[in-house]
């Protein structure tokens, strides 16, 4: 990843951005080695970008490490495993694995995102037989006594398997402490979201993205502190409201868009005030209950507070309602559908979400990208036309 923190003189956030930047270096693996040095014998386990119960891992002393693919790294071996009509992240993840970049991980979790990631779990088992690899089947039945029960057993199984490989045993105390930490992160990310909503000119989306993503391979507590520090520093920034349109960006929950793409959208006059880029760290709406049985609390948080992303079955209510709510909450003017090429969940979801936008009179535009997209000209022009059109539309209204 080639994220460059904004290098302005006397920027109060410069130092924290530099730290965040260092945390995402080496495909997010930079912090892992030092953590393992400090925690001899402890395990680090990778997971693909979408929701993963990191809180459970932290509770048993395991460092959860979000794997975001390999950006624009040259892919040779990874490509040899996938046809051209399959998205990019599984190739780059395999490439990272085969080139030894993930050697400091003791295992991988492949949460239920789509069939490609699901099958990747089996490929991983065969490619790295000495490592632990788990497919995490997130329930699509949201009754606590049915899907909840199943999920609880899945979590216990994962904890047990990791314990057998050297992690601590799962205890209520451990899990309670981890939930507290996770809630600190939740609170910090909520502040960041509020800042983007209320003073987007102080927080470019690319920075918000960097600071969020920087939590991929550190504990929730450390991440919370980093985000808090950034929010405090950004609040000190001066600067003023720009004549940009405010957009919610959705569809980028797994394979990540290149940093340059996010910046291009901003330069084209689109302030991204909310997104779904980081569901691995930012999936829950609200806090995890700290009073209940802690495992039940983790399960219930998934059942009742998970974001309505494409890989989650929306049986009740209407498809798209959650997106409209997100638009409203972020006070956005429109929606950008940015899906990775060949991303089944995002692209199959899109017509339904677009219909919801149409119904509610929310303007939108859409494009596709790959994590290694190198050309942004077309997207920039499209986003520029979109922001101009939204402004015209608003002034006419």
């Amino acid at each position: 990843m080639t994220a460059e923190p904004t290098a302005t003189h006397n920027d109060p956030a410069a130092a924290v951005l530099r730290r965040a930047h260092a945390l995402v270096a080496d495909y997010g693996m930079a912090p892992v080695k030092s953590w393992k040095d400090q925690h001899k014998g402890a395990l680090a386990v990778g997971h693909l970008p979408i929701y993963t119960p990191r809180v459970l891992l932290e509770a048993i002393g395991v460092l959860p490490v979000a794997i975001y693919g390999a950006g624009d790294k040259d892919i040779i071996r990874g490509d040899s495993y996938f046809q051209s009509y399959i998205c990019h992240i599984p190739r780059s993840t395999i490439e990272l694995g085969l080139t030894g970049m993930l050697d400091s991980l003791d295992g991988m979790i492949f949460p239920a995102i789509c069939d490609v990631i699901r099958n990747l779990s089996g490929m991983w088992q065969m490619l790295f037989p000495q490592k632990w690899a788990a497919y995490l089947d997130l329930p699509q039945n949201f009754r606590p006594e049915v899907g909840g029960r199943f999920y609880k057993l899945e979590l216990k199984r994962m904890a047990r398997e990791l314990h057998e490989r050297g992690a601590q045993a799962l205890t209520d105390e451990g899990l309670r402490a981890a939930i507290k930490d996770e809630n600190l992160r939740r609170a910090a990310l909520d502040k960041l979201a509020a800042l983007r909503r209320d003073a987007s000119w102080r927080v470019p989306a690319s920075e918000a993205y960097l600071v969020t993503r920087a939590g991929g391979a550190i504990s929730a507590r450390e991440h919370a502190a980093l985000v808090e520090e950034f929010v405090a520093a950004a609040n000190k920034r001066t600067g003023q409201l720009k004549d940009n349109v405010r957009v919610v960006m959705v569809g980028s929950f797994c394979e990540q868009p290149p940093f340059g793409l996010i910046k291009s959208l901003e330069r084209a006059g689109c302030d991204i005030v909310s997104d779904d880029l980081q569901l691995g760290l930012d999936y829950m709406e609200g806090m995890i209950d700290e009073k209940d049985d802690p495992l039940d609390a983790v399960v219930n948080a998934f059942l009742y507070q998970g974001k309505a992303t494409a890989s989650r079955y929306i049986g009740e209510g209407t498809k798209g309602a959650a997106l409209l709510e997100q638009v409203k909450r972020a006070k956005a003017d429109g929606v950008i559908f940015a899906a990775a090429s060949f991303c089944d969940p995002a692209l199959l979801d899109q017509p339904m979400l677009e219909a919801a936008c149409e119904g509610a009179g929310v303007p939108f535009t859409s494009f596709k990208y790959a994590e290694n997209t190198g050309q942004f000209q077309v997207i920039r022009e499209q986003a520029g036309a979109f922001s101009d059109a939204v402004r015209l539309w608003e002034s006419a209204a």
């Binding site: 789509c114 699901r118 699509q140 039945n141 049915v146 498809k319 859409s366």
Partner: protein, 465 residues
């Protein structure tokens, strides 16, 4: 990439001609053979679509559902009539209609990148929902979302939910990630049957579930399954009396769709088995588009679904070269009976759970490889072919690893071709034929072992005049 859309989006899908598939207009596509079993199947299907066309008048309830993990016996116990959108889509592909349907869906904003079954179905719906026999299909009273082995199923019925005003019931079948069915998975499926699926069916039909009736259905399923397994295993003979892929997709028709658990299905499979046994006795091969194929030069195992828009052309490429499919995984998507599973009338809900969990695409990649390896060895195959379809990531993601691993384990080389389920734009005839012929020639060359040594001194070519 679409253009900027401010107000209602009506994409800019390119118009394409319907696929150059088999002739249009005919009813269900079934190969022209004199086999009595084929005629029977044709009658069964026609009869089913007749029932569907009058379902509303007859007061029958209609459930749309998927092939893998289908709960046909349970629907049968409630006397509900199933409609299988996947089968409608493949029939549209075979009848040359899918190209236009897909265009219709893409004009409506569906991506070029995603599953063509879904787009074909949506396009068909928007074009009047006329089924393969030319009769309009009834709207569903229930969308029975058996989420088995395919993530897209979930999106598909979310999309249909927006089109129909009817309840959806989700049956989440967990994935056999470690190649086993755990008690927790099984219990989860049973729990959902009890808490969601059965109550919803009871509400729609106004009937209580009659467990005895369900058990009777399951017992009949078992009989049909016994016969089908014998049909599959007949391919161990030389020559094989069946084609286990192209021919096989006709054999799975009744048992994977609306008929499992019916007397009709039992009769069909017993009749089919008798025909196959006759061919074993006479040493005759199966009927193919190129005629009866008794001279079988290459025995292949096939992984992946066929390309429905060019089904006969694809089949012809095999039969013209003397290649026969002795086993295939596509014919196991609706149940792996040859690996021992049978529906069990003694444990109605448990057996339904086991069935759903055991379907081919619900198996982990390593266990799919194990199965293919077993087929290659036990059917004495000369090689294997992977038809990688763009639409279906459940099948396709990881197939290159399957290829590599199988070659390593069996020493048998594999062929890899790419096409699509029902999008005619993705069938490159020359490309596929080239690969297949190259592959079969390679098998031939390897079989012959020594190529005549033809000079061994270094080669120097004189300069051109």
């Amino acid at each position: 990439m679409s253009l900027v859309n401010i107000t209602p989006k009506k994409g800019d899908g390119k118009s394409i001609k319907a696929g150059a598939g088999p002739s249009e207009g005919s009813a269900i596509t079934v190969p022209v053979t004199k086999d009595a079993s084929q005629q029977r199947q044709k009658r069964m299907i026609a009869n089913h679509f007749d029932k569907l066309s009058t379902a509303k008048e007859d007061g029958k309830k209609v459930a749309y559902t998927f092939v893998p993990g289908n709960l046909t016996e349970l629907m049968g116990a409630f006397e509900m009539l199933p409609v299988l959108p996947e089968i409608n889509a493949l029939q549209s592909g075979m009848r040359g209609k899918s190209g236009a349907y897909i265009s219709e869906a893409e004009r409506g904003g569906h991506s070029e990148d995603v599953c063509s079954y879904v787009k074909c179905d949506i396009g068909m719906l928007r074009s009047g929902n006329v089924g393969p026999t030319g009769k309009t299909l009834p709207s569903p009273d229930l969308l029975l979302l058996s989420y088995t082995g395919c993530f897209t199923f979930m999106k598909w019925f979310e999309l249909l939910k927006a089109e129909y005003n009817c309840p959806v019931v989700m049956l989440h079948v967990p994935y056999q990630a470690d190649g086993i069915i755990t008690p927790e998975m099984r219990q989860y499926v049973i729990d959902q049957l009890k808490s969601d699926v059965i109550p919803q069916m009871e509400q729609i039909t106004g009937k209580k579930l009659n467990l005895d009736k369900l058990a009777e259905q399951l017992a009949r399923s078992r009989r049909a399954e016994d016969a089908l397994v014998k049909v599959w295993e007949s391919a161990k003979n030389r020559p094989s009396p069946i084609d286990g892929y192209f021919g096989g997709v006709y054999y799975i028709g009744p048992i994977f769709s609306a008929f499992r658990g019916s007397e009709d299905a039992v009769a069909y499979y017993e009749e089919l088995l008798a025909e196959v046994n006759d061919r074993i006795k006479t040493g005759e091969g199966p009927m193919t588009p190129a005629g009866v194929m008794s001279n079988q030069k290459y025995r292949l195992v096939v992984e992946g679904p066929p390309s429905w828009t060019h089904f006969n052309e694809f089949w012809n490429m095999f039969s013209n070269e003397g290649a026969i499919a002795v086993a295939s995984t596509y014919t196991r998507v609706g149940g792996l009976y040859d690996q021992g599973f049978r529906h069990d009338p003694q444990d109605p809900l448990g057996t339904l759970a086991d069935y759903c969990l055991g379907c081919y695409t619900n198996r982990s990649l390593p266990s799919r490889i194990d199965l293919l390896e077993k087929y290659i060895k036990s059917y004495s195959a000369d090689g294997f072919l992977i038809n990688s379809v763009k639409s279906c990531n459940s099948f396709s993601a990881g197939q290159l690893m399957i290829l590599r691993e199988l070659e390593k384990r069996t020493g048998v080389p594999g062929a890899f071709v790419e096409s699509d389920l029902v999008d005619p734009r993705y069938f490159g005839k020359a490309n596929i034929e080239n690969r297949l012929q190259s592959y079969l020639q390679m098998l031939e060359a390897r079989r012959n072992g020594n190529i005549a040594a033809s000079g061994s001194s270094p080669v120097v070519i004189g300069s051109a005049p």
